[in-house]
Structures are given as C-alpha cells and as structure tokens.
C-alpha cells in the first residue's frame, strides 16, 4: 500500500508476490518443456498396453531406439530408410557399439551378445513380419536385449 507524504495518496499494488508466482510458473513450464531431444518420432503411433513398465532412466546411454512406421520403414534421424538401408544402418550401429566398447576396454568378441538394449517404437499398424525382420536383424548383429514400447493406459 502506498504511503501518504504530502497529502497525495499513492496506491501501489505490491507486484513482488505476483512476479514470484509468475516466475515459478515459468520455471515449471520450462522444466517440463521437451524439445523432442530423444529419438521419439511423433509419426509413430504406439499401441496401448496396460501392463507396460515405466522406462528406467539410468540406461539412457545404452539404448538404440528404432522408430518403425506403419509401412515398416525405419525412421532414422528424420529420414525414412527402406529395408536395405535400414539393415545397413543396423550393421553400422552394431559396429559403432563394438567400437565404443573397445574404447572403454570392455571389448565384446564377434558373436558375443552386446549389452545395448534395442528399443522398438513400432507403429501400431505395422505388420508383425516387419517388426520381426528388424528383431532378427538385430539378433544377427549381436543384440539380445530388447524393449518393446507401448503407451501405458488409454491415450
């Protein structure tokens, strides 16, 4: 409330609490704002499953995320790869994983399972055979850990 020095009454609302609240709200929205940094392609409509488990965050580095659209094409860095290019990409990725492990002195011999988890984000309308093709291709490259993504609950 304003003071009265020389007869003139000055009514000044105290803005500070309002500003505090506004900044807190801004902070909240900034924290939850995601600039799709992860490889979550919005073109993929995931199926819904009630008993999926939430993803553990600690293994974020050790994941290879494969987005597969409804026609079975691999969505990779914004590009649509047909099956041949996708297989080539998977080979490259497995080589990169091995190289990375070698650098970290945790070398995995050829034919031995890789510790990386392959995360499948496949469209709900893609035929099983397409997904299975990627699964077997990954297995051939030495990946054994898989995760199939789905939406939890109705969404």
């Amino acid at each position: 409330m304003g003071g009265s020095a020389s007869g003139e009454i000055k009514a000044e609302p105290n803005m500070t609490p309002l500003l505090d609240v506004v900044f807190q709200l801004i902070t909240f929205f900034m924290m939850v704002f995601k600039i799709s940094g992860e490889n979550y392609d919005q073109r993929v409509k995931l199926p819904v499953a009630g008993s999926v488990r939430p993803v553990e965050g600690q293994m974020a580095d050790d994941r290879l995320i494969l987005n597969i659209d409804s026609r079975g094409q691999l969505l990779w860095n914004g590009e649509m790869l047909d099956i041949d290019r996708a297989m080539k990409e998977l080979r490259t990725q497995s080589q990169l994983v091995r190289l990375n492990l070698k650098i970290q002195k945790k070398e995995v011999a050829e034919g031995q399972p890789l510790p990386t988890t392959v995360v499948f984000r496949a469209d709900k309308n893609v035929p099983f055979t397409q997904v299975y093709r990627y699964i077997t291709a990954c297995q051939q490259q030495g990946f054994v850990k898989f995760a199939l993504k789905a939406m939890s609950g109705e969404g």
Binding site: L19, I26, V32, R53, P113, F128, Q140, A147
Partner: protein
C-alpha cells in the same frame, strides 16, 4: 543526476511483468504433456527359425534344442490374423481361443497349476498380424494375472 535531494529510484516492474506473462503464455500454449510410454523388456537370444504351421507339436525352441528342460518350460502360442491384420484366433496346442479373455483365463489356469512347468512362452504369429494386436497378447502374458515375462517370437510360415 545533479539533484542532491532525496530521490526515489523506482525500478519499472511492469515491462518485466509483461515479459514474464508473455513467456508464461507461450509455455502454456505450447504445453503438451508427453504421453507416458512404457516398455516390455526381454532378452531374445538368436535366433528363432520360422516355424511351419503344419507342425502340430510344440517343439519350438529358440536355441539348439539340447536344453530339454527349457523346451518343456516353454509354452507355445500361435496367433492367426484376419486378412486385415486383426487378431483372428489364438491357439495353445490343440486348443483354440477366439478371444483374449478366453486366452487369459486359460493362461491363468496354466500358471495356477503347479504341476505345469511353464515359465516362458514363444509367440508364433502370422506375418500380417498388426503389431497392436500382438501387443495386446503380450499384455495378457506380461500382465499381473499371468505374469509370464520371458517371451520370444517367431513367424508362422504358412497360413
């Protein structure tokens, strides 16, 4: 600044508040809560060969079949699809289940029966089955009522 009199310095808070409100408006308008995604984790060893649907016995194994106990512990479920890719029928051995509820109740019986050793399953699916419907079946297996989480897949080679 030459005045030596007592001068009150007022910080203009209004522009800052304007900016703050604009930022707030932006974030509120662009706020789209990310739908929560979950996942089914599984270890799939290489490599399950395609299985001919004409084989009626339940030998499916994914590894070299030297590990007989693992084979005996493996429940094989076959999924058949309609032409449009939707789930038509599920079978365990000779038994057919037209709906997921029936499959679920059978699986619950199997799990409840302690004389049956099944703790893992192979899902053999028609190539054309929609991933969505496959997920519904996986959901039944991995759900709390059945709780078989060791799953692997193979493709039915015949229709």
């Amino acid at each position: 600044m030459k005045k030596m009199k007592h001068e009150e310095v007022e910080v203009q808070i209004t522009p800052m508040l304007d900016m703050a409100f604009q930022l707030l408006t932006f974030f509120i308008l662009t706020f789209r809560p990310m739908p929560t995604e979950g996942q089914f984790s599984m270890n799939l060893l290489p490599s399950a060969p395609s299985i001919d649907i004409t084989q009626t016995d339940q030998k499916t194994d994914q590894n070299d079949s030297s590990d007989t106990p693992a084979m005996l512990r493996t429940l094989t479920v076959q999924l058949r699809s309609n032409l449009d890719g939707t789930l038509a029928q599920m079978s365990i051995g000779e038994n057919d289940f037209p709906t997921l509820d029936l499959l679920k109740s059978r699986l619950k019986e199997i799990v409840a029966d302690k004389t049956l050793p099944f703790d893992q399953a192979v899902i053999q699916s028609d190539p054309g089955l929609k991933y969505e419907d496959l997920m519904r079946v996986i959901d039944v297996f991995a759900g709390p009522e059945v709780g078989i989480t060791k799953l692997s897949f193979s493709e039915l080679s015949g229709i």
